[in-house]
Symmetry: C2
Subunit: 341 residues, 2 copies
């Protein structure tokens, strides 16, 4: 087979077409494990970086320059559109903090559906990246899915048990549905805007939906994923859906209509393929903590993922974001794994 | 069918025999959601309580007196035998802290396999409970499984990503296996001692093994679960195995030989039954956060679990420990659910 560009390889894998080799990138690849990223962060706080297109484009490109990933994901945060809805977010070392958590219907009513002009920076960053990459490396946009964004809005930040969110879900489901619907409208338009700005694929992060019972996933996560994914696909680009801890809801996840299911490491990719059939591609799923160890272990785990997934319909990735303490030689071993498979 | 005692009902369900109704209890049922427990804790710290048989028996009985659960689990902590191995533990509000985390082979060699005399309190508590319960309510002993105990020993406490543990696992597997083998020897004897002291079933908590890839579970969790469970069964009592987030390793979990698999809420019990067949009973699996909401939601979720599991080979329980903020009326709705099913 003739050699493909990274973008061709990535997009072919998204639609389960033949590839010259499995494409590879890493979630959170523009991040603290890179010395050049830490250098930027020494003089710029996280939120300023998200809102500065030139700088955000620069850090998005850093991993590509060093390791030649097949995809470049725009540097941003899933809570950026939430801020534009009228819910200010502070990014602290202990994670994001919402000034005013959403707790009742009045709080939901106070949120607005923003327009593209309310948060132009991500779109500007995408335009810069598309021009810089010249179509050689695939440009991936992203957004948080409604359930996961609602978890931050209701909890007021990250959470271990999602106690406030779950209480709302089980005691006042109509309030949560109203919040999810408003988020879905916001996020669908945000994804369309990203495609218009140059994104060639959109990854939807429903990171915390894997904490739901399958019944709750079906009611509070799936319908909102479906409506957003339908909008993404209507723009002619593939939709990738990531859920952490998804093995109990895998068949439901496949009903989202996503072109690619991005899986965590707690399930074997071959088993996942058997369970969902050949309707979509798989992305993943090496445990990011493997990259805290030694290159030969990284190679072995990446090779195992490549073997389990098979030669087509697979994008090699981690099962969650790369960790800040990851040594560069382990990242290199990971990114080079498909070359020697 | 004639009415059964709680112990008869619980033990029949453990071996998939017919029951007059599904038995029910809650993980961590002797805990902070009970005002009478909080009253004891106001004058006694956690570790002292674990080491005081009269008081530990008293708090073990508190939930039974108020709600009539079918099983009484001894009040203790999975780290009590770890302390007896020579690894002192401080129980703080932020969770357990180990004074000297295990990081290399010398640290493993320094741990000893304790004898029953080194930690007599749990066995004394069981003797008091067995006498007090008179065989009416099933008496359940418990222990942490090697992988989960190793996670605390290596991390030095609780962890989100298990970074140190995983680094050891992937970079120096022989060191981790040595630690796991020593823990398995300790825990197997500890379980046998608990049965001799009156426990009628043993629940083995491999809470964090669900964070492993299936391949890693097979190497670092399953063999140690199997050896301990074989020892428990050789005493003639059923073994219950709990793993949090187990849906990716369910078939492997069933290979442990456990009589009962205790499942978290992220999988449907009917789906779990289809996947593993009829070889063992299931315990679980209502999301503990449901009990933070309102009694009618608790009833609906418990009824759904009862329906999914079917009338035999099921012990109704939560998918993880009951949360401290749980209102008593929601606990009552949960415990009474099998009566109206």
């Amino acid at each position: 087979m003739l050699a493909m560009t990274s973008a061709q390889r990535f997009l072919a894998a998204c639609s389960c077409k033949p590839v010259d080799r499995t494409p590879v990138w890493m979630m959170r690849q523009a991040g603290r494990y890179l010395p050049e990223y830490r250098a930027v962060r020494e003089r710029t706080d996280f939120l300023t970086l998200c809102k500065s297109p030139q700088l955000a484009a620069e850090v998005s490109l850093q991993p590509i320059r060093r390791f030649e990933m097949d995809a470049c994901i725009v540097f941003s945060d899933i809570l950026i559109p939430v801020e534009a809805m009228g819910a200010p977010v502070a990014f602290t070392d202990a994670g994001p903090k919402l000034e005013r958590p959403v707790r009742d219907m009045a709080d939901v009513d106070a949120l607005r559906v923003p327009r593209a002009e309310d948060a132009p920076y991500v779109l500007d960053t995408l335009r810069l990246l598309r021009s810089e990459l010249g179509g050689e490396t695939a440009l991936v946009g992203f957004a948080g899915a409604p359930f996961t964004l609602a978890s931050y809005l209701v909890e007021g930040g990250g959470s271990k048990t999602f106690a406030s969110l779950k209480r709302l879900m089980y005691a006042e489901p109509a309030t949560l549905h109203a919040l999810l619907a408003k988020l879905a409208e916001t996020i669908a338009q945000y994804c369309v805007d990203q495609v218009e700005a140059g994104a060639q694929a959109i990854q939807l992060f429903d990171t915390w939906a894997g904490d739901l019972t399958p019944r709750a996933y079906e009611h509070f996560a799936l319908p909102y994923q479906r409506s957003i994914i339908a909008r993404i696909k209507s723009c002619g680009v593939p939709a990738i859906l990531f859920v952490n801890g998804s093995s109990g809801v895998l068949e439901l996840m496949a009903q989202s209509g996503a072109d690619v299911l991005s899986l965590d490491w707690r399930i074997d990719l071959g088993v996942a393929r058997e369970r969902i059939g050949n309707g979509c591609a798989l992305q993943g799923n090496v445990d990011p903590t493997v990259l805290l160890s030694v290159p030969h272990a990284v190679k072995a785990e990446a090779a195992a993922a490549l073997r389990s997934a098979g030669p087509s319909g697979h994008i090699l990735n981690l099962g969650h974001g790369v960790l800040p303490a990851t040594p560069l030689e382990c990242v290199r071993a990971f990114i080079e794994a498909p070359l020697s498979a």
